[in-house]
Symmetry: C2
Subunit: 249 residues, 2 copies
Amino acid sequence: MNEVIQTILNHRSHRHFEDKQLTDEQIKTIITCAQSASTSSFIQAYSIIGVRDKEKKKKLAEIAGNQEYVENNGHFFVFCADLYRHTIIGENEQIDVTPSIESTEKFMVALIDASLAAQNAAIAAESMGLGICYIGGIRNNLDEVTKILKTPERVIPLFGLAVGFPTKLNEKKPRLPFEHVYHEDEYEKNKEVYIGQLQNYDDLISNYYEERTDGKRKDRWTEQMARMLDRKSRMYMKEFIQKNKLDLH
Amino acid sequence: MNEVIQTILNHRSHRHFEDKQLTDEQIKTIITCAQSASTSSFIQAYSIIGVRDKEKKKKLAEIAGNQEYVENNGHFFVFCADLYRHTIIGENEQIDVTPSIESTEKFMVALIDASLAAQNAAIAAESMGLGICYIGGIRNNLDEVTKILKTPERVIPLFGLAVGFPTKLNEKKPRLPFEHVYHEDEYEKNKEVYIGQLQNYDDLISNYYEERTDGKRKDRWTEQMARMLDRKSRMYMKEFIQKNKLDLH
């Protein structure tokens, strides 16, 4: 197993960091790695905002549901879908790019581009001995986040990436069974097979929690998911995205 | 520079592969790496379909605009946003998860999850000496793709990943300037600065093409982008996604 695969398989989220900032060189390496990712038709439809300002970090931590590692880390990156620069390009070249930019297709492209870049950043950071944690919680209130980061229209902050020098080694959580996630030639739609796989996984996850909490917790994964999806969270999103003139048609 | 960062920075897309299939072990390693990526609230909202069937690959290559490397490669993976299993979970747990699953927020979560997984797969493959190419072209006709792969409702094939033993070393394309993509504390909205950065990049890209084509080609990046965005491509996407009961509200 090579060093790259070892790094990837060794991933776990980190939520406790030393009070020590990343160096400019480390930040530069992480961003350069992010930029090396593939991008749809060379469109490069994303931006990254590094947050150093203490007040801003504090506000972002509150928005994310008081996650203190959003405030206390080695550096906090925000990955954004970005079609603002392409809007400006259209203006400059006097070509009406609006229908294209406002399409669901291009919204998807920007999300995918930003995410590929982010995962490169994450792996690069981990390879340097740093710990990472993705922060979807900034989507709790994107109106506020866009004010804090002063992003223009057609720039959507998608998630944060807290990076830092880890102080505590978390456990890795077992993923869905290989056969459940990976299909060959066609999607396995047989519900009996599908549900059987989920039950096996439920047992695995239930044991995982039981062992780690001295039997206090033994929730099944499907139960966790149903509970989470029962809460209607961030239902303002469509309105927010469309107000920012993306995903309109 | 460690081996991981070297692998990441050494990325380029490959479009010519030996006639040699990946081993099952290689496929398993790639998928396991994909699954190691972070996932929003442990939701794991994606699936991967490996395509071996020659006829299916041929059809996918046609859909992707006759890209022959979709047909001829070491293995072809299709990454899908997947909220089908969560639909079944809701049914089984007798909880109405539908409003949540049909939200724009969860559509975004699934896209991000699938993309993080894909980039792990890409890096893992590259670390094994394999070449990769993302294939957004399958989105040219998702109605057909879902028929070929027999995906159920709420599973959206997002892009392919052609992987194989490369026969030709492509060049790396220079990315947008660091300062243009990376902001600190707030987004740089000063149009003069912004356009200046794009002009510098235009010069870089123009020189890049000129050198590689003996002066035959010297398009600027902004010109390329404006031209691409002038074509309204895949404008059926919103209807397709909503027919599949995602991104509805």
